[in-house]
Symmetry: C2
Subunit: 417 residues, 2 copies
């Protein structure tokens, strides 16, 4: 894409009321727009990043047998009363509204009950199970505070997968698969090293649930990390019994601030009992379905990447999520030769299928370089009189600062990798 | 995909309270789920169709220079008061809710004002224009009646594009391009023949706006069609002056029921005046931006396709939007040879990149055939003892009923086309 055609521009300052680093950088670079606290629009560059994160998660969910759906934001009282979740005293983040006839509606905070109700239309016998159903869908949560940028929003998309199994063993096997898929997701998204499988309280049906916590000073959680074992526990389960269970020694634990980028937990039969999602087993015996819930917030991941990987000059996107792979900058020469060479290289990059943002704007080079650093695309390529004279293009790696001079075919081969 | 792994199943009857044909068929075939009147979830097959429609629209919007964003459902009073649209008496389909501190929020009915406000951050001089910005985003409308299935919903995704131009000429030129892109969209989606460019009232700034109306008995609108000229007018502009303008004779007009699948209209400076979206022209003179609005509801299009193209046996998807291209059915033989042959053909189809739903379920052939007709995938391929003996596969075209016997390579070549 030609940057002259992009409607967004970078800005020197973020809005004064924006205290989080992720939102400050993302607003300054033109990725997101703050509609109000905890409510952000995604601009063209931001939507590209968001969609790449979604794409990675989708691939991994499909790989473990997930079937994608899209449920509704509007929820009825009848769906959530059986589990006692409609009452604002029990779930205190509902946004409620109403139809013209006065019927109260809620905006979905989560979808366990909604999907459980839906599955009653399709689950009857053991032959219709197991099933794994997921979506990328907007949740609305009436958070009292929303100061963490896109890491804690009042309106945000969540990937939520729900598993429907016949036996505890079948559930456990999928739960392990989902755990591995989550590790794979965060690895592919570039925050694998900083992200810890974290043991948390399991609730009614299992001893533990699991969080995926990424260490960052912007985190709202405190976790206790065993760096050698690449494991952590959260505060609620930091006790001698649990440490013994997990074979972790208290002396090895380091307290860290972290943000929860994903979580998986066993729902047992809480929802299937309450909403009567049952099946007949091989012997014709009626049994409640055993459920699990598996969540990732793509925007929270995006914010976490920014918090974790940015430097003093701006954002540093991992390749898998960058809005473009290459940021090509033309430094205009008086004779127009630099622009002609840049246009030609842009055409060659496009032909090679390399996603390129081409800074063809009529701006001083210094401004373009500063914008490139702020926007944070992995590879910056400069075309100028100097590079033309050398017969090589200059490629700089955003993450490391490494600069290489490469002939066009070398450049394209390198970027294709 | 193997149909045995799909969690949805067809059903004989739609819910009793569902009166629209599109929702009845889509629910029976397992495409959608009725959460409540005017609020539907998309199941795996339905989401595939929906995403294909979105994909076609996206390509055409990108082709005319559209830049994709995603704005927020939550809206503030401040955004909509300058145009007098916050007041429930002026816009009577708002859903309103509130933050914990009592601040009133609205759920976006449309996004003209929201995007106009956003563009103030990026538009300053003539050099930052024109711009064309679009999204696929959920709208919430508090409709009193919602009986048309997915053709009129209380919660639905809309593609809304907004144009920001410097001069009336620049606006007009884009408006024409958008009109052609819309015609292209409906043609690609398989309802081009039934869809009429329909003149409607233009409001404050132009004589006409334009609707794209698809003729169907399920339509809530009445239009007056000149079939030779492939034009129509709606009721509000059916008068002698307009007919003279358009060179249409009243005697040539036929009244038809139709559904509005798209609309484009000039907003003039209504929003830019009210929200002060101005730019400095080449001479340094401050001017308001000239805007246009261009909408399509992908789910309404999906419902319209079902209303228009289904037959007594079920849905008939055009290829461009079908959830899969091929519905392959195995009719099991006692010796297992049919299943082995079907498995092999499924592998070959997948290898050839042909999207296939493979009905590998352990059901009677009649049930499978009936399901295939109801689900409406364009090409049905049967593998049975009979077809194996003949050395050819049986391919049936859903739309025409045409049956062909084809050797595997012929079949794959035909389906690849």
């Amino acid at each position: 894409m030609r940057q002259s055609q992009l409607f967004t521009r970078t800005r020197k300052e973020a809005p004064k009321d924006e205290v989080s680093k992720n939102a400050q950088l993302l607003i300054r670079a033109g990725y997101i727009y703050k509609e109000m606290a905890g409510v952000y629009a995604f601009l063209p560059l931001g939507l590209r990043v968001f969609n790449k994160i979604v794409g990675v998660i989708r691939e991994e969910m499909n790989d473990i047998g997930g079937q994608e759906v899209s449920l509704t934001a509007f929820q009825q009282k009848e769906t959530w009363t059986p589990t006692n979740q409609w009452d604002d005293k029990e779930v205190d983040v509902w946004f409620k509204t109403q139809l013209k006839n006065g019927t109260e509606l809620g905006l979905a905070v989560t979808h366990e009950a909604a999907l459980t109700k839906l599955m009653k239309d399709f689950v009857s016998s053991y032959r219709s199970l197991p099933q794994y159903v997921y979506q990328f869908q907007t949740k609305f949560r009436n958070e009292t505070r929303a100061k963490s940028g896109i890491m804690r929003c009042r309106e945000f998309v969540m990937k939520d997968l729900y598993s429907f199994s016949r036996t505890q063993d079948e559930h456990n096997a999928f739960y392990e698969k989902a755990k591995q898929a989550y590790e794979q997701v965060f690895k592919r998204l570039g925050i694998g090293n900083q992200t810890y499988l974290t043991f948390a309280s399991g609730g009614m049906f299992t001893k533990f649930s699991h969080e995926f916590q990424t260490v960052t000073d912007a985190g709202e959680d405190l976790i206790y990390v065993d760096e050698n074992k690449k494991l952590a526990v959260n505060k609620e389960v930091l006790n001698d019994e649990v440490l013994k269970d997990l074979g972790i020694h208290r002396a090895d634990l380091v307290e860290k601030k972290a943000v929860e980028v994903g979580n998986i937990f066993s729902l047992g039969t809480r929802f299937s009992d309450a909403l009567e999602l049952n099946f007949l087993d091989e012997k014709g015996v009626k049994k409640p379905v055993i459920m699990g819930s598996y969540g990732i917030g793509p925007a929270r991941v995006m914010g976490t990447i920014v918090e974790t990987l940015s430097d003093k000059d701006g954002i540093v996107w991992p390749e898998a999520v960058a809005p473009f792979k290459v940021h090509m900058i033309v430094v205009d020469s008086k004779d127009g030769s630099a622009r002609a060479a840049a246009d030609a290289l842009y055409a060659a990059l496009q032909k090679a299928g390399i996603e390129t943002l081409y800074d063809d704007r009529d701006l001083r080079p210094g401004e373009k370089f500063a914008d490139a650093d702020l926007i944070g695309i992995p590879y910056r390529v400069v075309v100028s009189e100097k590079t033309i004279a050398a017969g090589k293009h200059e490629m700089k790696v955003r993450a490391t600062g490494e600069v290489r001079s490469l002939a066009e075919t070398e450049l394209i081969d390198t970027l294709r990798e």
